[in-house]
Each structure stands twice: as C-alpha cells, then as structure tokens.
C-alpha cells in the first residue's frame, strides 16, 4: 500500500469494493493527496451519497457521513452550517447528483455554500445494473434503453455555472495530477466548488455503452472525447460538438459565501456562529 494510503485509509474496510479498473479509486487517491497537500485532515468532513462513488468517503479515515440517495447536499449543508470552519467535501454520482438530487444541487449552487462537490460521472447507473442515467449519451444503448437513449445528456458543469456555483472544473480519471491540484484549489476556494470527474465504469458503461470491458481502452475512449479549455478557444463550434471541455471552466471570487451572509445577518452573536 502506498504511504498516503497507509496514512489516510481505514485498513479494516479494505480492499475497495469497486470493480478492477474503476475510476473511483483514482479519485480517492487524488482527494487524499489534495488533503495531504493542504494539511487539513482534522477539519475535513466527508459526505457520500448512494452509488459506487458514495463509497469513496467510507474508506477515508476522517469525519464521514453516508447519506440518503440524492440527499448528500442537504446533509452537507447542515454539516457546514453547524460549523462553518469545517471543510466539507461531498462525493456524489451522476445519478445521485443530477437525477435524484437535482433540485438540491441547483439550490445549493444558487446559495453559494462553501462546500466542495466531486461528482463522479460514469454515464450510467452502475451499482444497480446499468440503467439509463441523466448523463447517458444520446442514442446509447443501455439495459433500460434497448433502442438507444432518446434523451440528451445533462451538462453538469454548465448547470452548476448558471445555477450560481463559483468554482467549476471538469477532469477525467486519466488526469490524476491535475484533478488532485484542482480538488486542492476547490477546497481552498470560498464558495460552492463543483468538480465533475469523467470516470470509467468498465463493468456497466464499458460493456453496455462502449463495447469494451478493458478499463484502459475505455478511459482512452473517454479521454479522446475531451478538449482542454485552452485549446478549445482556437477551435470552431463544429469541432467542439459532442466534446467535453476539461480544465477550470469557471472561477468567480467576488460572490459572498452563504454561511458568511447568513451569520452576518443573524445579528445578536455579531455574525458569529455557535461554537
């Protein structure tokens, strides 16, 4: 085991329950490296939803909350508002965040609450057996869309941006170093930080949508569909059709954070929350 794993993981819970080659492990590694680089282990509180990605916080030895399906953000809101000094990191899947918890997502982004949301996008409901998700590509065949998915997928980053999130970034599981740096930046950012990570799900999305169960080939396929923000400015709209933009998409430092404005209005305690 990697020394960073030795330091941060709950040994009793190992090995991870994920399939071989799952992107969640890489995201877990990137997160613990970001926490290590900032030295904030004592202040961190992790919230996990339901689904494969909701298991990421379970393995990290820090304050952990495993919440209901789609309700990660209400739990995280309570956690943050009870002590605004906490660094709350939320792990959620695409179905958890945009499907079941879509309404919570847009409202937490609108409030600009100072939490970091890491949304693992595997484009399918992986744990329950490969049903069509809000992020499944158009025309993709899944277990519940035999003739192809008739719906357009959600662009979670655009949604977060228009809803009021102040830090928005997108990476794939193949960009582990950039992802780790981006998570560290998101944790330090004061406001709603949203990071979408395109991750490979070899068992469900790989076999059903992309026709390969090889994690490396699948991740290469996903990576080939991305364009970095810097090179996207030189390309025309036609070349960007159906591509994911990766990198830091939005960073606004000017907006007031929710717990600050809330406790600022609270009055009697002089804007200070209860200890």
């Amino acid at each position: 085991m990697n020394p960073i794993g030795e330091k941060y993981l709950r040994k009793k819970a190992l090995p991870f329950l994920w399939c071989p080659g799952c992107g969640n492990g890489t995201i877990l590694g990137a997160t613990v490296r970001a926490i290590e680089s900032l030295g904030i282990r004592e202040d961190v509180a992790l919230v996990g939803g339901i689904g494969c990605s909701g298991w990421i916080p379970v393995y990290i030895d820090a304050d952990t909350l495993h919440s209901l399906h789609g309700r990660t953000l209400p739990f995280a809101t309570g956690l943050k508002m009870s002590n605004p000094k906490r660094k709350v990191i939320v792990f959620t899947g695409d179905g958890d965040c945009l499907g079941i918890g879509g309404n919570h997502f847009i409202h937490t982004a609108r409030r600009n609450l100072d939490i970091t949301v890491i949304m693992v996008n595997n484009q399918i409901y992986g744990m329950t057996g490969g049903q069509v998700a809000p992020t499944t590509p158009l025309k993709a065949k899944t277990k519940t869309s035999f003739y192809g998915n008739p719906e357009d997928p959600f662009d979670a980053c655009e949604l977060a941006k228009v809803a009021g999130a102040t830090y928005v970034a997108r990476w794939t599981a193949a960009h582990a170093l950039s992802l780790s740096r981006s998570i560290a930046e998101a944790i330090t950012h004061e406001g709603f930080a949203f990071i979408e990570v395109i991750a490979q799900c070899p068992t469900q999305a790989g076999r059903i949508i992309y026709g390969t169960a090889d994690p490396a080939r699948l991740l290469d396929t996903l990576k080939a569909q991305t364009v970095s923000v810097k090179s996207a400015s030189k390309l025309d709209a036609e070349a960007l059709q159906g591509k994911w933009l990766i990198g830091t998409l939005h960073h606004d430092k000017g907006k007031t954070e929710f717990s600050r404005s809330y406790f600022g209005m609270a009055g009697p305690r002089g804007g200070k929350p209860a200890a």
Binding site: M1, P20, L28, D214
Partner: protein, 69 residues
C-alpha cells in the same frame, strides 16, 4: 533513480498502470495473487523517468515510487 514498489496483495490487475506508463516499462508478471488477479512487474527499472503516472492512476493505491539514494 527510483524504486517502483507494487503491493501485489491489493492489486486487481486492471492494467491501467501498464497502459499509461509513458516508457512502457511495466509488464504482466504472470503470477497470480491471493485473489487470482495478475499484478504487473517492473520489466526495465533503469528506464523509469519518475513521472509517477502509475502511482497516481492506480485505483487501489498499490503502487509506490520511492527515491533511491
């Protein structure tokens, strides 16, 4: 120079490290671990450029790069 240490106990044989190694120095070991997966082995340690891609991408956190004096 670095040492590439692979913890075979945790490896699930996904081969992401082998695929993403820019120098292609990780190969299949042919051995099976207790769970039946085939972990990688370092075929040519001299070639390692210490980029840490394998260490960062490993979903099981099973690879460690240690600086050798």
């Amino acid at each position: 120079m670095v040492d590439i240490i692979i913890d075979e106990q945790y490896c699930k044989g996904c081969e992401l490290c082998m695929h993403y190694c820019p120098k292609q120095i990780l190969k299949k070991s042919g051995r099976r671990n207790a769970k039946g997966y085939v972990p990688p082995m370092v075929a040519d340690p001299e070639q390692c450029s210490n980029c840490r891609t394998c260490e960062l991408i490993c979903p099981e956190l099973a690879i460690t790069l240690e600086d050798k004096p």
